[in-house]
């Protein structure tokens, strides 16, 4: 969560500021939406940041088409948060170990911190912002509120996205033990697990 830490523990000397700065320059010259395919392709071919060719990504995010030019190193997580201003998806460990960054790609739960934005062209991404139907919360969101399935709330978007796909994509769990096993990729450091299990057990009844 250290904002200076995005480029990893390595020795490249690429700071988050430089990295994002390059991206923002590219964003400024590239319309996010509604550009013609030829114009996009031409821009993508010529767009570089720090000497690295940028990649044009065309995906659907929460049901809307999105076109964005990214550094090939950009993760889906950073692109959602920093470029598309969808900050509901949380950056926990940034190493694929905590589950806080869980989103859906084509309806399946995946870790956005280990997904390169560049490889999401042609795919449908759903984040926590895309779950509610207008003001009507998704049954899983409602259940987490009713059961108080959180303390600090940082892991909650990941927990909810993971739980929704667990039920919708993979099928409801048949026992509390099964919920715990199938949700083991989402860590809650406040240890709200009992209430998370309660919430998921209830929500999957409504989701049927």
């Amino acid at each position: 969560m250290n904002p200076e830490n995005d480029a990893g523990h390595g020795r490249s000397g690429v700071s988050r500021r430089n990295f994002l700065g390059g991206g923002l320059v590219a964003a400024a010259v590239t319309p996010l939406l509604n550009a013609t395919a030829e114009a996009e392709a031409a821009e993508a071919a010529s767009a570089t940041a720090g000497g690295v060719a940028q990649v044009l990504v065309r995906a659907a995010v929460n049901g809307a088409p999105v076109t964005v030019l990214v550094d090939p190193r950009a993760t889906l997580l950073d692109t959602l948060r920093e470029r598309l201003d969808l900050k509901g998806t949380k950056k926990g460990c940034d190493r694929g170990q905590c589950g806080a960054c869980t989103v859906h790609v084509d309806g399946r739960r995946v870790l956005s911190c280990l997904t390169l934005a560049a490889s999401t062209t042609g795919h449908e991404v759903t984040t926590i912002e895309g779950l509610a139907d207008g003001d009507r919360l998704h049954p899983m969101q409602q259940a987490f509120i009713e059961h108080d399935g959180l303390q600090c709330g940082f892991c909650t978007p990941g927990q909810i996205m993971s739980a929704v796909a667990m039920v919708d994509d993979e099928g409801p769990a048949r026992s509390d033990d099964e919920i715990r096993e199938r949700m083991s990729g989402n860590i809650c450091r406040c240890s709200a697990y009992p209430r998370i299990v309660d919430a998921i057990r209830d929500a999957q009844q409504v989701m049927r």
């Binding site: 690429v14 690295v52 940034d94 911190c113 280990l114 390169l116 993979e170």
Partner: protein
């Protein structure tokens, strides 16, 4: 992360064009993106292979064929895999988390890198990451490390669960390069660290795994994978056992046994297999067969429990398998 160029080819031929030591093939990304962030792996070119036609699961008279880009979750859920190769499905389901299983490919699983903390930390010496720099694990924290197949230069354990039953079942790996294709038994695909721990397998820099074939056998359907770890879920194995038995009545006619968490590569236990074959499937047979399972083990300060834990893991797997008949 270091800068790299990015390509998304649509054919194997296109993907292999120009591939070399500085190329990394990206499938699920669960190992590659992680290690690129840590700058343990620093490719100049990343070739996203997810658009290649390397998917598909088929079962025929030769066995089970799995495309390299099939995802762990899809293979684990496949009815043909579950019925005919239960320990393969079990090893997959006991791996990682649901999110990672949705992402990670079968080819990538077989090529995943060790979880040795020193390999992952670029500020410490590691012969696997930086040949000749030394091994920090020998005298460091080595609870998770290997006791079999180790060398004075590396004791990193092989992390894959899936590779353990696959080695037991004589799985063949299919490889493609610009010059053609070849197939290699998984058991000899992996190499021992010796003095060159940076080399982990016989895959050439310009080669790609395209798929695997798990042969048909009378024993694969009667098989079990047992994994022992520090927590109940979402953790790598301290020890694991893949066991498959061919039976006639109460007599074991054939046995396939391999272990995970203990070796620098997935560890086939042919001596245990021989000791089981032709004997009645009893507790006494199992206990006697595993006595020498960890022969040659070289335990270090924190992993000296592994030989005994391996023997008990094997007995538990054999016992549970027998009781499930």
């Amino acid at each position: 992360m270091r800068p790299y160029t990015f390509a998304q080819p649509r054919s194997v031929r296109e993907a292999l064009r120009g591939a070399g030591p500085d190329t990394a093939f990206l499938a699920g990304g669960t190992t590659l993106v992680d290690l690129m962030k840590l700058e343990v792996v620093t490719p100049e070119r990343v070739v996203d292979i997810n658009r290649l036609p390397l998917d598909g699961i088929t079962l025929d008279h030769k066995g089970l064929h799995i495309g390299a880009l099939e995802r762990m979750s899809d293979v684990a859920a496949d009815r043909r895999v579950r019925e005919n190769y239960p320990m393969v499905a079990q090893a997959l389901e006991l791996s990682a988390s649901a999110q990672l299983r949705n992402m990670a490919s079968i080819g990538g699983n077989l090529l995943q890198r060790t979880r040795c903390g020193y390999f992952r930390d670029v500020s410490t010496p590691c012969n696997k990451r930086e040949p000749g720099s030394g091994c920090s694990a020998l005298e460091g924290i080595n609870r998770g490390h290997a006791v079999l197949g180790t060398s004075d230069d590396c004791i990193a354990s092989h992390p894959s669960d899936l590779a353990v039953p696959l080695v037991a079942l004589s799985t063949v790996v299919h490889l493609a390069s610009a010059r053609g294709t070849r197939s290699v038994p998984l058991d000899t695909f992996y190499t021992l660290p010796g003095a060159t721990p940076e080399v982990e397998n016989v895959l050439r820099p310009n080669e790609l795994i395209t798929g695997i074939t798990v042969p048909r056998s009378p024993w694969a359907a009667h098989s079990l994978y047992v994994k022992v770890r520090d927590r109940q879920s979402y953790e790598f194995a301290l020890t694991s056992a893949a066991v498959a038995l061919g039976m006639r009545g109460r007599t074991i006619t054939s046995a396939r046994v391999a272990a995970g968490g203990v070796g620098t590569r997935p560890w086939r236990l042919t001596a245990v297999e021989r000791a089981l074959t032709g004997r009645p499937a009893t507790a006494a047979t199992f206990e006697a067969a595993v006595v020498r399972a960890a022969d040659g083990a070289q335990p270090r300060e924190h992993n000296a429990f592994k030989p005994a834990l391996l023997r008990r893991t094997l007995v538990r797997a054999l016992t549970e398998l027998q009781e499930s008949r």
